[in-house]
């Protein structure tokens, strides 16, 4: 019921909105000077009146000139200011933004008489200059608002991507930034233009006798002899011009938005892929970080990190979000400058080098493909920046597309590709200029699980084939295990441990590493007695067992870690060294194994992961059992390692 009411009100309101425009056009063809609707008889006399009248045509020309000057001025001043207001941080920014927008809210009558007050003394009333300056004041807020809006929507990764591909700051601005914010500048300019063309109040005061704008002319006509039919002709022409302009804009925008896609895979059929890449073209360089520290204000993002990545190695920085791994990557790429410490690539320190001089490829988390370029142009970007001849660019891009199995996709735009395809384009773009190091910032995070797993294998094969050095950032431990030669576990801005996947899993150096890579049972305990190479310990909850430990003095506090799969369950009767009585609290069937939660004592529980073998008995919840493990499966950790 109420919905019907809403629809009726909506319809009537829309009719009300459209009514004057719908009435204006037929009235402009009236052949009487007494306007009615529908008109008595049709004629073009009011159009002829407008087009043949010197005053009307002169005022139209004046309006165009004023609007053009005012718009140009507003854009020239507003665009850089809008970009700075959206990006940079400086004191008084909010105040400056408020001042910029103020002309929108100050009543236009106040502006008009203020301009009149000042320009009259300067004898500028009745000049194009005065009108254009005043209209520019009105237009500036529109330009700034629109530029700020596109700048905020615009991903700064795009600029970083351009820098990492070798573009200087200036090249980045002209080839990327300007294209991506063009829509905002055009929209702002259009608003400023329309505002100036439609402005009456200021024109009433500043027109004087000589510089009469079209709206001022219409105002005189309407306010002096109430009904002047020429006004309807002028307004109708205005309307047609505006509609045509908007239509043309929309037409070009839609054409640019949907370039005819080439049939997929065209050109890929038959024949060998043009010159597939080989390791001969890549010379991976070693990377060394020495005591690198990064402070953001008083926050320590990275605290004295040292790391050596060998040439051709696949190194993963693994850590939870906010651990500082992306900051480390950004310092290697050159987007952040270390507060202290040194970054060395090959044998050359690059700490203070700008990103475009580093020759480091980077794949960004959201790919940062330039939306205003085709796939081909995206991949060719670093080559064009390096002023390579067109023929070589074409063959290199083809080879890069072949490498990521996207032959024939060169003419498409990034938005016409799936996530996985975009990912591969980003990879081709980062490798096409044969960088000495490839950085990847969570590049697979946006893909679904199956695609992610197949990309992991593809990336690893590619790395093996090309022999390039890779630094890969992820928070996914299984991804890190799958792909890496070595893993650096990052936590709280520090590297906790560096090692192969097996080393990290089997011998975690800290409780954090133990629990971040796989599952771990952590127990706090105290040494009771040392016998040969083993020691008997008692947990805080009172359970005792044996560990491998040399020279542990009785009374020493220890923290131990035991992997769930190292914990075995036996029937309650079986006693022996290293067995602890416990009660099964929960059993979770996982297919290949069953996970048991067992309670040792009121304070301590363990997780045991028992492989499911055919015919093996299931243990019921509530059953009394003994848990057992081999002493060498117990990893002793430093006590304070979990406290950070």
């Amino acid at each position: 019921m109420w919905r019907a009411g809403v629809t009726v009100v909506c319809g009537l309101t829309l009719a009300f909105i459209v009514a004057p425009m719908a009435a204006l056009v037929p009235m402009s063809f009236s052949n009487t000077s007494w306007l009615t609707l529908p008109p008595h008889g049709l004629s073009l006399r009011w159009y002829a009146d407008f087009l043949s009248n010197r005053d009307w045509m002169g005022s139209a020309w004046t309006s165009v000139r004023v609007a053009f000057l005012a718009t140009t001025l507003a854009c020239a001043l507003g665009t850089p200011a809008g970009m700075a207001l959206a990006r940079a941080r400086f004191p008084g920014k909010d105040l400056l933004y408020a001042v910029t927008l103020a002309p929108m809210v100050v009543p236009v009558m106040i502006l008009a008489i203020s301009f009149y007050f000042v320009y009259a003394r300067a004898h500028l009333v009745g000049t194009i200059t005065a009108l254009a300056l005043s209209h520019a004041v009105l237009g500036v807020p529109y330009v700034v608002i629109n530029v700020v809006a596109v700048m905020r929507a615009f991903d700064p990764q795009m600029e970083r991507a351009a820098r990492s591909l070798g573009a200087t700051g200036w090249q980045t601005f002209w080839r990327v930034t300007v294209h991506l914010i063009r829509a905002g500048i055009i929209a702002g300019a259009l608003f400023a233009l329309i505002t100036s063309l439609d402005e009456v109040v200021i024109a009433i005061f500043l027109s004087g006798r000589d510089v009469v704008t079209l709206p001022k002319m219409m105002w005189d006509a309407v306010s002096q002899d109430e009904i002047n039919p020429t006004v309807t002709a002028v307004a109708s022409i205005q309307m047609v011009v505006v509609v045509l302009a908007l239509g043309a804009l929309e037409f070009f925008r839609s054409r640019r938005g949907h370039p005819r896609p080439r049939p997929a895979g065209a050109g890929a059929g038959g024949g060998a892929a043009p010159g597939a890449w080989s390791s001969a073209e890549f010379r991976g360089a070693a990377l060394r970080l020495c005591e690198v520290t990064k402070l953001f204000g008083s926050v320590t993002a990275v605290a004295g990190v040292s790391l050596e990545v060998e040439a051709g190695e696949f190194m993963t920085l693994l850590g939870p979000s906010g651990s500082g791994k992306t900051t480390i990557l950004n310092m290697v790429a050159g987007f952040e400058r270390p507060t202290s410490g040194e970054v060395v690539l090959g044998d050359r320190p690059i700490t203070r080098l700008s990103p475009d001089k580093r020759d480091i490829g980077m794949v960004f988390q959201n790919y940062a493909l330039f939306p205003h370029m085709t796939v081909f142009d995206n991949i060719a970007f670093p080559l064009r920046i390096r002023r390579m001849p067109a023929g070589e660019i074409a063959s290199r891009v083809e080879a890069a597309l072949a490498m990521v199995r996207l032959e024939g996709y060169g003419a498409r735009h990034p938005r016409q590709l799936s996530g996985g395809q975009q990912q591969r384009v980003a990879l081709a773009r980062a490798l096409v200029f044969h960088p000495r190091l490839l950085l990847m910032d969570e590049p697979l995070a946006a893909l679904d699980k199956r695609l992610r797993e197949s990309m992991q294998i593809e990336l690893r094969r590619l790395h093996e084939r090309l022999g390039i050095t890779v630094v890969f950032v992820t928070h996914d431990q299984s991804e890190a295990m799958t792909m890496s030669d070595r893993i650096a576990v990052v936590n709280h801005g520090r590297i906790e441990q560096v090692g192969t996947p097996a080393e990290l899993y089997e011998r975690p150096a800290s409780a954090f590493v133990g629990s971040f890579i796989g599952e771990s049972n952590l127990l706090d305990c105290r040494v009771l007695a040392q016998i040969g190479a083993s020691a008997t310990v008692e947990t805080a909850g009172g359970s005792t067992f044996t560990i491998v430990a040399n020279g542990a003095r009785p009374g020493t506090a220890l923290r131990v870690s035991i992997r769930p799969e190292a914990v075995g369950l036996a029937a309650a009767g079986a006693a022996g060294p290293g067995t602890v009585p416990a009660v099964v609290e929960d059993a979770i069937y996982l297919g290949d194994a069953t996970k048991y939660v067992v309670r040792l004592n009121p304070d301590e529980v363990l997780i045991a992961r028992v492989a499911n073998r055919r015919g093996a008995p299931r243990i019921d919840v509530g059953a009394s059992v003994r848990v057992a493990w081999e002493p060498q499966d117990v990893q002793v950790l430093p006590v304070d390692s979990a406290e950070r």
């Binding site: 001043l77 100050v106 009543p107 520019a136």
Partner: protein, 279 residues
């Protein structure tokens, strides 16, 4: 080699800042300070503004027109914005084009057309007579009704765009969640959609109220001398009475009222939203 980041950030804004200082803040400041300068008459004008009933009447009328027009726009615009939000994208785009058609022609031409449509033997009166809704032609123009019609027509698209901007951001799955939890369509609207649309209502109302306070063209043309707004009074003092001091004093009052409303609002809301932020 590298300048300080503050300077690098500030530098691109300096030309605009200089421009606004010279061609915006300076003229407005000059004009306003004239109202209290000795040659402009000192504080005498403000005494006059406070004591003469005419000024109080005009200010009151300006305020009243702005409030009524804002509320009318809200009442008419909310259903339109709601329909736009709920319509399939194609229909919504079509309706949106209708909403912005007034931007295609100048505010003068619109007022002018209303003058013709609303006159004694104009189309509107003929329809009203034809439907036997009225016995004799009604005065729809050169009075307050005419000003309301004209101003609502000018400001309505801004209200609709402001409401639509916020409504479009409301997650429609919230309404499905509400109906899944047992709410009727009306209850879902009343308890979920409407509260979430309030930021748009607030932003739209503020914008319209502020802009409405400064209106000049529409009331001057459609009011037929029976309606006077502060802006019209200012214009009259300058072009007819040549009394700059009084005009400047009136301007200051109008400006202070405008800034006060915006300041009150910005305490409660993010100002970005007022200016449409994203579009």
């Amino acid at each position: 080699m590298m300048r300080s980041p503050v300077l690098r950030g500030l530098l691109p804004t300096l030309p605009l800042l200089a421009f606004l200082l010279v061609f915006f803040l300076y003229p407005v400041g000059q004009m306003l300070s004239f109202s209290i300068s000795p040659e402009g008459g000192g504080l005498a004008h403000y005494r006059e503004l406070l004591t003469t009933p005419l000024y109080r009447r005009v200010m009151w009328e300006t305020l009243q027109i702005s409030v009524v027009v804002t509320l009318l726009c809200l009442a008419l615009g909310y259903p339109v914005a709601y329909t736009l939000t709920m319509a399939p994208p194609r229909v919504a785009n079509l309706l949106l084009i209708l909403v912005v058609t007034p931007f295609w022609i100048s505010i003068l031409a619109r007022s002018f057309t209303w003058m013709i449509l609303l006159q004694r033997d104009g189309v509107v009166n003929q329809v009203l007579l034809g439907l036997h809704l009225v016995r004799a032609p009604v005065s729809l123009i050169y009075n307050q009704i005419g000003v309301y019609i004209g101003m609502v027509h000018v400001l309505l698209p801004f209200m609709i765009l402001s409401l639509y901007g916020v409504m479009r951001g409301i997650d429609t799955s919230l309404l499905r969640a509400a109906s899944n939890l047992g709410a009727t369509e009306w209850q879902a609207f009343r308890r979920v959609f409407f509260p979430l649309s309030l930021p748009g209502v607030a932003a739209g109302c503020l914008m319209l109220f502020v802009v409405g306070l400064g209106f000049f063209i529409t009331p001057a043309l459609l009011g037929g001398g029976k309606v006077t707004t502060v802006s019209m009074l200012i214009e009259a003092y300058i072009n007819q009475a040549l009394d700059w001091g009084l005009a400047a004093a009136l301007s200051l009052v109008l400006l202070v009222a405008t800034v006060l409303v915006i300041a009150l609002y910005s305490r409660a809301m993010n100002l970005d939203r007022l200016f449409g932020g994203g579009t």
